[in-house]
Symmetry: C2
Subunit: 392 residues, 2 copies
């Protein structure tokens, strides 16, 4: 009678990630944190760049009247300009402050975009496996999520996306580098996706927006580069944050960047500014906005994550685990040696290894390992990973 | 075709406050900021307490691993404990960390509460005049706002509230000290409201939650005290922030505090923690959470606002304006000398005085003056206020 029926339903399904987290907390109490191998959460453990600390200290020490007051609803103009300037170079497109809105992380950005765009029943196409929060975000604003499988190597299946598009498709939501797979969609596939969306929206007489959630954009390996959706497709919008690239997810700062060629650009940006306000975000922290103004192009030490990736991939590979080697982010998404991924994750848990079943990401038969952990956690977990696979 | 129909509608109605803000920006460019008397926005101009600066400096300078990482979804346990401890004393109820959730300001808190509680079509009763964002917040989560007039002195009209309650009433949402009137509902009226809600929910076999939005709780004058809803009513929830009490609205930090006797307490708190996450807030800034842990009971210099209130009330009163003297917050809500409040606000604007018509708060025939401005703005505006009233 208290909680709404929908939220009650969500709670009973519960998030796998959260469940693992709670079980993990119990195990840690029982066995000591150093004896539990917690790969369940994507909470970055590589520290923020040294420059972040310096800039934070400087700005926190300043004494400017109104520095903690409300700013214009889109964020500080100078922050928006700094981001636009940096992105213009990175994406080789011409962005101004008018194309940028500061947000409460990428989660905030996505909710603002979806609320701005979706009419009831509008469809949002999401390639699987996918970040579990998306279905909630889409549902929050009356949309319908349509999941579309990716190929075996987790690359986009354009045929399947094409088949899924209807006249009700308003958004295609991609996440690259991907959580949970670490896949980075290459330039060719993004260009082909853009062609497909162009063709389909012309065919239906609609606008289909490509929303790219890319908080891991600078965490990429082996010279891989995340192609620019802003360059590839006129109706593209980036939702992102500094949570992973600067290792400050607790500070809740990100932004929306819209293609200058977006159809209905001005109205969509005004709508998004309104939605940022009426959803209760209002804005990202004033202090953090001023900090990231001075942090453009500065990123965490990706070499740290690369080393962890090698440790994990080499270790699991030699034990007989099969996976697609991630090109970015800090997740590995191996196949489970048995079909039942939930059961397999339980077997790992008995060895004090905490992971998340692929079912939680819309892809059974797999499990997710977040390798944003100490090297020791990776190294010391190998015994358990080995015992489980050889027991099957 | 881009923006959703609903958001398009919201944009065309537009917020009066925002409209005034934009017109004001134009006037300031034209005449110079010192010649424009901007009473349109509730952006506090009294600086944060000195202690805030000190604590911020200390905490920003610390070097604790993970201090900018994700924390548990309800917020830092120690922050929740500090808030619970302070509130327990203030409200003389026994709260623990389990009753507190950190949020992205009071706007975030209200959205989280409403999403947690509302089924489609559930009714939320709001006494008018009211903070304009409420109708958006309620609509975000499928609820229906039912506006109920207050009495001439802006006190609660319990008869009218009683008449408005139906079996679909899930929430009564009050705001005290009130924006835009500065009214503080006294203990007797809160107790009677509690009795009414008790009686009605027993009658209908429902639970009616009293949600109290009280970000101005410590900005009160003449010894007035905001009575405790937690003490008065078992099904009460506070939504609040440090935006006004510590003058840091840009930092987006607030909290939810639930009555320990809340029906369905555990489920509602779990639901709210889930909603905080899936709405994209995840949490308030990690840094700010740690700052406010050390700021319990510390508030801005209320004497500053009291002095501004006197300046404004004395000035306008002697010019012949009629109003209920505010008991808290930093708003004055006089009657307009002519019936058409929008027209009257336009007349003031011609004298470079920016205010907001009462229509924007569901109460025509009035206008709102935000007096969180420099004393000079108040003093120098009196000429224009006088010219307008004597021209009518």
């Amino acid at each position: 009678m208290g909680v709404s029926r929908k939220i009650e339903g969500f709670m009973s399904q519960s998030s796998w990630i959260r469940k693992m987290f709670e079980d993990g907390a119990k195990l840690k109490k029982q066995y000591g944190a150093e004896n539990v191998f917690d790969f369940s959460l994507g909470n970055p453990n590589v520290p923020p760049p040294v420059r972040f600390k310096e800039v934070l200290g400087e700005i926190a020490g300043e004494d400017i009247p109104g520095m903690h007051a409300y700013m214009p609803n889109a964020g500080y103009p100078e922050t928006r300009e700094a981001i636009a300037g940096y992105l213009s170079k990175e994406h080789t497109v011409s962005l101004s402050a008018d194309h940028i809105i500061l947000t409460c992380g990428a989660g905030g950005a996505l909710n603002v975009i979806l609320k701005t765009l979706l009419d009831p029943g509008d469809e949002v196409i999401v390639p699987t496996p996918f970040f579990v929060e998306y279905t909630f975000y889409v549902d929050n604003h009356g949309g319908v999520t349509k999941l579309v499988e990716t190929k075996d190597d987790f690359s986009l299946d354009l045929m399947a996306i094409g088949d899924a598009i209807t006249e009700k498709t308003k958004v295609v939501l991609i996440n690259s580098p991907n959580n949970p797979t670490g896949k980075v969609y290459d330039e060719e596939s993004i260009n082909k996706l853009a062609d497909l969306l162009d063709e389909k929206s012309r065919g239906y007489g609609t606008e289909i927006y490509l929303v790219s959630d890319e908080p891991y954009s600078t965490i990429v390996y082996d010279g891989v580069k995340v192609p620019s959706v802003l360059k590839a497709y006129r109706n593209s919008i980036i939702a992102t944050s500094y949570s992973k690239t600067v290792s400050i997810p607790g500070e809740r700062i990100g932004f929306i960047a819209a293609s200058p060629e977006l159809s209905d650009l001005e109205k969509i940006m005004s709508g998004a500014i309104l939605c940022n306000r009426i959803l209760g975000f209002v804005n990202a922290s004033a202090l953090m906005q001023r900090v990231i103004t001075k942090m453009q192009g500065i990123t965490v030490d990706v070499e740290e994550y690369r080393r962890k990736r090698e440790l994990l991939c080499d270790g699991l590979s030699s034990l007989g685990y099969r996976f697609v080697k991630p090109e970015g982010a800090f997740y590995l998404f191996p196949r489970t040696p048995i079909e039942d991924d939930v059961e397999f994750v339980r077997l790992l848990q008995k060895k004090n290894i905490l992971t998340v079943p692929g079912s939680g990401f819309g892809k059974p038969g797999h499990f997710r390992i977040s390798y944003c952990v100490d090297d020791a956690t990776i190294i010391n977990s190998m015994k358990g990973f080995g015992e489980v696979i050889s027991s099957l």
